[in-house]
C-alpha cells in the first residue's frame, strides 16, 4: 500500500512542479512576501511629522517645542504662522500632529498656575492617531515633571502608572506580526496546492481514470494530501528560519511544540483545501471556494486585529477557523515559550477541524459529477 501511495504522491508532485509557471508560483511569492510583509505590517509609528504653531513665542513655549523636536518619535516639518494654516497642513497629510500654543500660554501659567496646549491630530487612521497622542502626552508629562522640579514641588507629584510589558519589552509590533506571517503564508501555500487539484482532474477527465484504478478512496486522499503536507512543512521551516535569523524574532519555546503545531495546522488546512477541491466541479468553483475560505480565515484570524474586539457572533464564527488557533500557538511558542499543556486548548479544535474536513473530502471524492 505504501508503495502505491508513494506512486500517487510522485504523480502529484510532477503535476505541481513540472510546469515552470506553476513551480515559480509555489516557491517564489511566499519568500518575497515574507520579507516585504515583515517590514510593511507594523503598528509602530516613528518619525511622526509634526507642525508647530507657536503664538506665544516665549522662553517656555520654545522650550516645549524643543522637546518635540528633540524626541526621536517626532520630526518637525513646518512652523506655522497663523491658525489658518493648520487645515491645509493636516488635509494634505504633511503633518500628523499640530502643536498649537496660544498667545496666553505663559501668562496663564504665571497667573493661574496651570495652562493649556492644544494638540490637533489627523484622525484618518485612528490607530496611528492614538499612538501619536500617546507620544505627545508623554512628552508633555515629562515637561510637567521638569517644571514641577524647577518649582520644588516634587513632593506634590502623584504617583504614575508605569507599564512593563512581558514577552515583548519594547512592544515592537514586528515580534507580533512576523510569527503571524508564518501562519499566513503556510495557509496560502497549502490552499494553492490542494484547493484546485481535484477540480482540475475532474475538468480534464483524469479523475475518472484514477477512480477506475484499484486505489481506495482514502489512498487517493492520502496521495493528494501528502504533497501539500510536505510542501507546507518545507516552506514553514524556511519561513521560521527567516523569522528567527533575519527578523530576529526570539524563539523562546520548544521546536517540538512549534512543529507539532505546524503539522496539526497543515492537516486542518489540507482538509479544508481538499474538501473545497472535492466539492468543486470546475476549477473556477475551486478558486472561488479557496478565496471564500482564505480571505475570511485571514482577516478574522487575529492576525492584525484581535479576535477579542469582534462582536460575540463573529467571535463564535472564528471557532471554525484553524488559523485562529495556529496563530495563538505560533505567538505563544515564539514569544512566551508556551508549553504543550498551556496550548492544549488550541490543538484540539484544529484536530477536530482536520478530522471533519478530511472525512468530508474522502466521501466527496467518490462523487460522480455527471
Amino acid at each position: 500500500m505504501l508503495f502505491r501511495v508513494l506512486a500517487l504522491v510522485q504523480k502529484e508532485f510532477l503535476a505541481l512542479l513540472k510546469d515552470r509557471q506553476s513551480r515559480f508560483v509555489i516557491i517564489g511569492p511566499p519568500i518575497i512576501q515574507l520579507v516585504v510583509f515583515g517590514y510593511a505590517a507594523t503598528f509602530d509609528v516613528t518619525n511622526v511629522p509634526v507642525a508647530v504653531l507657536d503664538e506665544c513665542n516665549t522662553l517656555l513655549s520654545r522650550d516645549l517645542t524643543a522637546r518635540f523636536v528633540a524626541s526621536p518619535n517626532f520630526q518637525l516639518v513646518a512652523r506655522l504662522e497663523q491658525p489658518g494654516q493648520i487645515a491645509p497642513v493636516l488635509d494634505r497629510q504633511q503633518a500628523m500632529l499640530v502643536l498649537h500654543i496660544r498667545q496666553d500660554f505663559q501668562r496663564k501659567l504665571s497667573t493661574l498656575g496651570t495652562t493649556e496646549v492644544q494638540l490637533i491630530l489627523d484622525g484618518r487612521n485612528s490607530n496611528t492617531a492614538l499612538i501619536v497622542l500617546g507620544y505627545a502626552q508623554g512628552i508633555i508629562e515629562e515637561f510637567n515633571a521638569t517644571l514641577r522640579r524647577r518649582r520644588g514641588r516634587l513632593a506634590q507629584v502623584p504617583a504614575q502608572v508605569v507599564s512593563r510589558a512581558w514577552f515583548n519589552p519594547n512592544l515592537q509590533s514586528q515580534w507580533f506580526i512576523v510569527p503571524g506571517i508564518v501562519g499566513l503564508l503556510t495557509l496560502v501555500v497549502t490552499m494553492l496546492v490542494t484547493a484546485l487539484s481535484v477540480a482540475r482532474e475532474r475538468e480534464q477527465g483524469t479523475f475518472d481514470q484514477l477512480l477506475v484504478t484499484p486505489y481506495r478512496p482514502y489512498e487517493l486522499l492520502l496521495g493528494k494530501a501528502l504533497p501539500g503536507f510536505l510542501i507546507g512543512l518545507v516552506e514553514a521551516t524556511f519561513i521560521v528560519l527567516v523569522a528567527v535569523f533575519w527578523f530576529r524574532v526570539p524563539l523562546v519555546g520548544s521546536l517540538g511544540v512549534l512543529y507539532l503545531g505546524v503539522a496539526v495546522f497543515l492537516l486542518s488546512a489540507i482538509g479544508v483545501g481538499l474538501m473545497i477541491s472535492s466539492l468543486a466541479n470546475t476549477q473556477q468553483q475551486g478558486l472561488l471556494g479557496a478565496f471564500l475560505f482564505l480571505v475570511p480565515a485571514i482577516i478574522l484570524s487575529g492576525f492584525a486585529t484581535p479576535i477579542a474586539n469582534m462582536p460575540p457572533a463573529v467571535q463564535k464564527l472564528t471557532l471554525v477557523n484553524p488559523m485562529r488557533y495556529y496563530l495563538v500557538i505560533l505567538r505563544g511558542v515564539f514569544l512566551q515559550g508556551a508549553t504543550l499543556e498551556e496550548l492544549a486548548d488550541q490543538f484540539w479544535p484544529m484536530l477536530g477541524i482536520a478530522a471533519v474536513t478530511l472525512a468530508v473530502a474522502t466521501v466527496m471524492f467518490r462523487r460522480r459529477i455527471y
Partner: protein
C-alpha cells in the same frame, strides 16, 4: 501599417460585432449565475462580516487586579475600573495566580495595588506597576492607555474632593480631526471596500480568458472576423457593469449600515471607483491571458491580489510607518491608491492634492494592464 486594408470594416460593423460579443459574454454570465453572485452577494456578505469583525477598538479587556490591602481608597479606584467601558476587572488574591492567568491568556494586564496604596502615600511612592502582555504590542499599548486614563480620572476625583494635588502645570487639550471619536471602523470600512472590490475584480476576470484557451473555444472565436481587442473589450464591458453595481452596493452599506461619514463628493467617488475597477479587471485579464491554464491563473490571482491589498494598501497598517523601500513598493499596489481615495472621500472630503496623484496612477495602471493583456493575446494558436 499605412497600406489600406481592402476589407477594412466600417465602424458600424465593428460596433455590431462588439455588441454580439458582449451579448455572448452576458449570456455566459447569466447562465452560470456564479458571476452575479460574486458581484452582488459577495460584497454584501464580506462587508457585513468584516465591517463588524475587523476592529482595533479594544473593549471589555480583562484586567487582573491584585489588591494587597483593601481600604477605602483601593475600593474607589476599583470602582472606577468597574465603571470603565473598556476594561473588565478580574480580582486575584495574589500575584502568582494573576501571572498564571496571564500565561493562559485569560487576562491581558495585571495591576497591583501594594499594601501601602492610599491617597496619603501616593505622594511618596513614585510608581504603580502595571504588567501588560506584550505579545500583541498594539493592544498592549492601548490597554496601558486605558489604565492610565482610568487612574487619572480617579486622581482628579480625589483631588476635587480633597484638594490633595495641584493640577499639572500644562494640561493637554486634544482634538482629532476627521474622526473625532477615534472610531477605528471609520477608517477600516472604506479600506475594506477597496479590499473586497480587489477580490471581486480578480475573481470575476481571472479565469475568463484561461477558460477560453483551456476549453478550446478560443479557436471558435478566432475563426470569426472579430479582433482580439474586440474579444477583450467584449469581456471587460459586462464585468465592468457587474463590478460597478457591487461597488455601489458596498459604498451604500459603508454609509448607511456602518455609519461612516461621507464628506467628499459623488464625483470624486465615482471617478475613483471607475478607475479602480478598470485596473482590477485589467489585472484579472492580464493574469488570465498570460497564464494559459486555469490552475496557474487561479494561483496567481490568489497571490497577487488579496495579500498585497490586505497588507500593503494602508487599509490597516499605516503606509507612513513603513520603511521607505516598502513605501515605494506600495505605489504599484492598485488597492493602495483606492484606499487613499476612499479614506479621504469618506472622512476628509475632496482633498484634491491627495486624490489626483492616486487617480493618475490608477489611470496609468488601467492603461498598462489593459494594453498588456491586448499585446499578450496574439490571435493565433501555438
Amino acid at each position: 501599417m499605412t497600406t489600406p486594408k481592402p476589407f477594412a470594416p466600417a465602424a458600424r460593423h465593428r460596433l455590431m460585432r462588439l455588441r454580439g460579443l458582449v451579448r455572448k459574454e452576458w449570456l455566459q454570465i447569466w447562465r452560470d449565475p456564479s458571476s452575479i453572485a460574486i458581484a452582488f452577494l459577495l460584497p454584501v456578505v464580506l462587508l457585513l462580516l468584516f465591517g463588524y469583525g475587523v476592529s482595533l477598538d479594544a473593549k471589555d479587556v480583562p484586567l487582573a487586579l491584585v489588591v494587597d490591602n483593601p481600604n477605602p481608597d483601593t475600593m474607589t479606584l476599583c470602582g472606577h475600573f468597574e465603571r470603565s467601558k473598556y476594561l473588565r476587572p478580574v480580582y486575584f488574591v495574589n500575584m502568582r495566580h494573576a501571572q498564571q492567568a496571564m500565561l493562559r491568556r485569560q487576562v491581558s494586564a495585571i495591576l497591583r495595588l501594594r499594601d501601602d496604596f492610599s491617597r496619603e502615600n501616593l505622594q511618596r511612592r513614585g510608581t504603580i506597576q502595571l504588567i501588560v502582555n506584550g505579545t500583541d504590542a498594539n493592544t498592549a499599548r492601548i490597554v496601558t492607555g486605558y489604565v492610565q486614563g482610568v487612574y487619572a480620572r480617579w486622581l482628579a476625583d480625589v483631588q476635587q474632593r480633597r484638594r490633595a494635588f495641584p493640577p499639572p502645570p500644562i494640561q493637554v487639550q486634544h482634538r482629532v480631526w476627521y474622526n473625532a471619536n477615534l472610531r477605528s471602523r471609520n477608517y477600516l470600512v472604506p479600506g475594506l471596500v477597496a479590499i473586497i472590490m480587489t477580490l471581486i475584480g480578480a475573481l470575476l476576470t481571472a479565469m475568463v480568458m484561461a477558460r477560453e484557451w483551456e476549453r478550446g473555444t478560443i479557436e471558435a472565436l478566432m475563426t470569426t472576423p472579430v479582433s482580439m481587442g474586440e474579444v477583450l473589450l467584449g469581456k471587460v464591458i459586462p464585468y465592468f457593469g457587474l463590478g460597478l453595481g457591487g461597488m455601489a452596493l458596498s459604498v451604500a452599506m459603508a454609509r448607511w449600515v456602518f455609519d461612516v461619514p461621507f464628506r467628499g463628493s459623488m464625483l470624486a467617488l465615482l471617478a475613483g471607483s471607475v478607475l479602480f475597477l478598470l485596473v482590477a479587471l485589467g489585472l484579472g485579464l492580464l493574469i488570465s491571458t498570460t497564464a494559459r491554464n486555469q490552475f496557474v491563473a487561479g494561483q496567481v490571482a490568489i497571490i497577487v491580489t488579496f495579500l498585497p491589498a490586505f497588507i500593503l494598501s494602508g487599509f490597516i497598517f499605516d503606509i507612513r510607518s513603513m520603511p521607505w523601500p516598502i513605501r515605494a513598493l506600495t505605489a504599484i499596489i492598485p488597492a493602495r491608491h483606492f484606499v487613499t481615495i476612499l479614506q479621504n472621500v469618506f472622512l476628509a472630503g475632496d482633498v484634491w492634492p491627495l486624490l489626483l496623484p492616486s487617480m493618475g496612477v490608477l489611470a496609468l495602471m488601467a492603461l498598462v494592464f489593459l494594453g498588456l493583456s491586448y499585446r499578450k493575446s496574439p490571435k493565433r494558436l501555438d
